[in-house]
Structures are given as C-alpha cells and as structure tokens.
Amino acid sequence: MKLFEYEAKEILRRYGVEVPKSVLVRKGEDPIEKMKQAGLEPPVVVKAQVLVAGRGKAGGVKMARTWEDVKKIVDELFEKPIKGIKPKLLLIEEAIPHETELYVGIVIDRSERKPVVLASRYGGMDIEEIAREKPESIVRVHVDPFLGMKGYQARLIGKKIGLQGKVLSRFASFLTALYEVFDKYDAELAESNPLAVVGDKVIPLDARLIVDDNALYRHPELAGERLEESGEYTEWEIKARKLGLAFVELDGDIGIIGNGAGLTMTTMDLVYEYGGKPANFLDIGGGASAELVKTAVSFLIEFPKTKKIFMNIFGGITRCDEVAKGIVKALEELGQLPKPLVVRLAGTNEEEGREILRKAGIEAFVDPIEAVKRLMEI
C-alpha cells in the first residue's frame, strides 16, 4: 500500500527527522487561514496528495509566491486530475531554498535477500533516470536484516556520495531514521527524492513509503485500503478487488481468465501472439469453486472493454467440472451469453468438464493453440 506524501513525512517526523513546515488542506477549507494558524507564509509549495507516479511532471506540484498565488493554485489543483485522479488533499509546505538535491531510497534486493540502500548525489530525477544518466553516481549498500542499518554504514554511504562534516552526520541520522521506518513499517520502498541539502542540514522535500500489503495487519494505524484515492487502481480494478478477484485492467478488448498467475499471463501472451489484445488479467487461483468461476465470468461479461472472452484452465488442484459448472451458472443467470466465450479445459476431470459445457452449448478445447485460433476467428 502506497502512503501519501504527508503520511510518509509525518512518520519520518516521529522518527526524529526534520521535515518542512506544512499544513494539509481539504477541499472547502481556507488555505490562507490554515497557513496563518500554522505560521506559514509564501513562498510555499502546494502539492496534490495523489499516489500516481510522475506527479510533478503532471502538474501536481506548484510554487506559490504570494497569498493570491496560494488561493489560485489551491483552487486549481483541487480541480485538476493528475493522471485521472483529483486530489482530496493538498499539502502546503514552506519553500526551502537549497542548492543540492540528493536521492536516497531503500528497497529489497530479491537476489541478495537483503534490504539495499540506493543513494546518489543527483537527486530530483527518478532513480531510473539516474540509473540511465549517472549510473556511476549510484551507491548500493546492503543491510543485514537482523542487525539493521548501523550508523557507520549510513556515514559511509554519505561519504560515497560526497558529503562531509556536519552534513555527513545529519545525512547519516536521516538515513538511519529512514531505515528504521523501512523496517518498522514493513516497507517495500522507503525513499526521499529529492533530499535537499540546506546549509548543514538535510531535509526531505519529498518522501515515499510503500507498505507490504501482507504486513498491513501489523499496522492497524494505517487506515485500511485506500483504493479509490490511491490512483493505483482503475474503477474496474477496484470493483474486482471488492469481489475478491485478482484482476488487472489492460488496453485491449479480449477478456482473459486463467487459473494461476503464470498461466493467466501466458494466456495473455498467447492471445497477443495470435494478434489479439488482452483487455485484462484475471486469475481465479488454485482450487476455484463453481461460485468463484461464476463471479469471474459474470464480471468479465459486464466489463465493457471485453468484446470476447478467453478462458484457459489447466486443472491441477482446480477441477475442470467445477469450472464448467461455474460457467453454466453464469450463463443461466444471464439467460444467454452476450459475448462470445472460448474455453480451453485440460487436466483434472477434463472430460467431465467438457461434457457439462457441451450440454450447455459451449465448445471447449483441449489444445490452447486451437482454442486461441478459434477465438481470433470469431
């Protein structure tokens, strides 16, 4: 789960990090009033609290130099969708003059099975951009997950990105705090970019924190799911999640259902290979019940992007007869199938499954290649 910038900064503040002075403004609130209460004056930076990547480039961050500016920009940002998402909250922050912008992030290195700190003296651009443009500037240091980040490691990283003296110590304190947050919040990513050097200090101008969904039960203080606000999910993805379906929306027009993530992706790839464009990824998982199959089929029929549907099932734990029953149930409910459906059924109880479908007038293939060819012909 991605946290909003203001949440990430509030957490950092609680771990002893100095963050820019700020106020949070909701729609309808008077930003001028709130700024005055907080002792904030222009120039300030107004930032849309949305979770989409590339917020700055999409116009979600604006500098306001006067009180009039503030009013105008606040009104503007509340009305401006950033990659489709209108912000519900704006963060108004003191503008902090600075010369140097650093990058620092902590992620998990899958191969080393260790957290890894990435740092660069060229902050302000994405890590991908830095990796392209200044690859030699990126310092990578692994952390022992049992020991945590030691102060000396943080100092060493600071030295390697060219810091010295007091700034070096401040950077080390910041980085150890960031690691503590990474660790305590079960983060997949803890990042500050840019991290500004301001005199002797370092101040995170932006902060990102992505918490492992599997660990959310340990962080009840992070208010539940924020599907709508997050900008991570489309309208139909949110609907699917609420139905308990593992569904990803794509750009094409062929609905895809598979069992197992690998097989479902493969089914997408297969459709693509034969000239089709998948409208989605939908994995019914292992051992799906007829009920779940019914839900998934009905959902894809309703999903407006799909013109036809390809269902590719290999019965392992999943039983083909159970899948077939689910399809038939969906049909019964809808009266008839408003969109063409091609089914490939193989594995456990495949004959029984195909028999059930035949009786319901649906053709079921054994060979997925034949199935996809048929799909493209319809």
Binding site: R110, S111, K114, D213, V248, G260, G262, T266, V271, D367
Partner: protein, 292 residues
C-alpha cells in the same frame, strides 16, 4: 536419483490439523510420501489420517528422528515461527506453502535458514515432487511421471501444464520444484540449477520464469559462465504484462525498469538457452535439445 527429495524423505507436516494441511496430508500419503508426524500447537496427541500430531517440532523430531523434511501449511502470521522451529529442529528441507507472508519476515528466515544449512522452498509455492518417489507439496501428482527432465518454476499451474505436456510426450521428470511467486524466496533458479547439475539422472532442465526480479538473468549468467552444462529450455510468462502492475504474484511486477520479459529472454538466449514462445512448445524444444 533426484534433487532434494527422494524415497528417503521422511516428512513432518506443520499445521497438519488445518483444512489445507489435513487435505494435502491425505493427498501426499496417497502419493506415497512418507509422512512421519504432524505438528499443531495445542493439538498434540491427535492423529490426522493416521499421522501422529505433536505440539512442537522438538517433540516430533524426538519421536521421529528420521524426519528430514517439513512442509508448512501454517497461516501467514505464524508461518515464520514455524520455519524457525523447523530449522532449529534440524530439518534440512522446509517447503513453505503459505502465501501472504510479510516480505520482511521472509527476508529474515531465509537468511537464517541459509546460515543453518537448511534449504527453504517457497514461500507461496506449490512445493516439490520427485515423480514416483515422493511429493511434498500441493501439486496434482498424476500430471508428473518419473523421468530425466528437471523442472524449476516460479509458477504453479504453468508447471502442471508443462509437466503434463512433457509426460504425455514421454518426457518424465526427475524432480519438479515450484520455487514460489513471492519477491523473496528460499531456493532460487541458480541454486536449483546447481543441484540439477550434480544429479546424474537429470538430462535437461526446463526453467519457467516470470517477469519481475532478476532470477532468470542470474541463471543465464551462471549458464554463460559454464557452471551449468546440461541443456536448458526456458519459458517466461508475462511478455505482454504492463510495467508497474502486479500480475497476481507479488513477485511478478516490472519495477524501476528491471525484470522485463525482453531482458530475461535476451539474457537467456545469449547464454544459449532455448526460450519457448509458449509453454506448449516446450516438449518439442526438449526433444530438440536432447537430440543434440
């Protein structure tokens, strides 16, 4: 022979009294796996499908010192503890079926197990089967046949599909390892290849990858360095998956420009690996590489 698992496996099922644990204990027993004990805290003294249940691994191992393998069906919140318990009880192969384990927990127990010399398969995996010898996992046993092809895979259903297709064409398997779909897992591709390299029974390996991470690239480097010398056929799922989206598995995501389909295929191809465009091509590619 086979890798990691053969007829000498003596298995403890951790979380045996749960719905999944008890169901798959039955299936594994039916397959012929020697399950010597089960563990569920507070349920010591019961039996499940004739298997005696203990409160702790220490007791289970004390009563069944021949135990060398465990499989974990414990819910995510308690699964890491079950892993430490198995490792500390001296179990040398631990298969973690449980999904949704926080990745910071997995990081820790995988490092711990490595220090102690225990192999972890998973988490979030279908397990391991050496056809005809033993099955420690949740895969349908009937799709696999004994033979000389090793399979190592990040994907469950796809493995069954490929195993089935190979079996039908007469290519049985030495050992099939579903290493799991999480971002951080125990046994990796390179470690699995190292084991298959040493196994005289295995003549070729099918490697089933997915987008996300760099495990496939690392396997390719290893093959390129000449540390794996048997023929390899690979398939990578997710060619058409968009970046930044999780495709079911937490591990299957293209992030920060790494873990792309193209990168993986390029690395493998450069290492001399035959990469199948669809999994259904795999039997014929296997035929091809074995002929050489």
């Amino acid at each position: 022979m086979a890798v990691l698992l053969d007829e000498n496996a003596r298995v403890i099922v951790q979380g045996i009294t749960g719905r999944e644990g008890s169901f798959h204990t039955r299936l594994m027993l039916e397959y012929g796996t020697k399950i010597v004990a089960g563990v569920t805290p507070g349920k010591g003294g019961m039996t499940v499908h004739g298997v005696p249940v203990y409160d702790t691994m220490a007791e289970a191992v004390a009563e069944h010192p021949e135990a060398n393998t465990s499989i974990i069906f414990v819910p995510a919140r308690f699964a890491p503890d079950a892993v430490y318990e198995a490792v500390d009880a001296g179990i040398k192969l631990v298969v973690v079926i449980t999904e949704h384990i926080p990745v910071h927990e997995t990081l820790k127990f995988v490092n711990y197990a490595r220090q102690k010399g225990t192999t972890i398969i998973g988490p979030n995996c279908p397990g391991i089967i050496s056809p005809g010898k033993a099955k420690v996992g949740i895969m349908p046993g009937h799709v696999f046949k004994p033979g000389n092809i090793g399979i190592v895979s990040r994907s469950g259903t796809l493995t069954y599909e490929i195993g089935y297709a190979l079996s039908k064409k007469g290519y049985g398997q030495s050992t099939v390892i579903g290493i799991g779909g999480d971002p951080v897992i125990g046994l990796s591709f390179t470690e699995a290849l190292r084991l298959f390299q040493e196994d005289p029974e295995t003549e070729a390996v099918v490697l089933v990858g997915e987008i996300g991470g760099d495990m496939e690239e690392r396997a390719a480097e290893m093959i390129k360095r000449g540390e794996f010398t048997k023929p390899v056929v690979a398939f990578i799922a997710g060619r058409t998956a968009p970046p930044g989206k999780r495709m079911g598995h937490a591990g299957a995501i293209i992030m920060m420009g790494t873990g792309t389909y193209e990168g993986k295929v390029k690395a493998l191809t450069e290492a001399g690996v035959k990469v199948a465009k669809t999994p259904f091509e795999i039997p014929s590619l296997v035929e091809e590489v074995l002929k050489k």
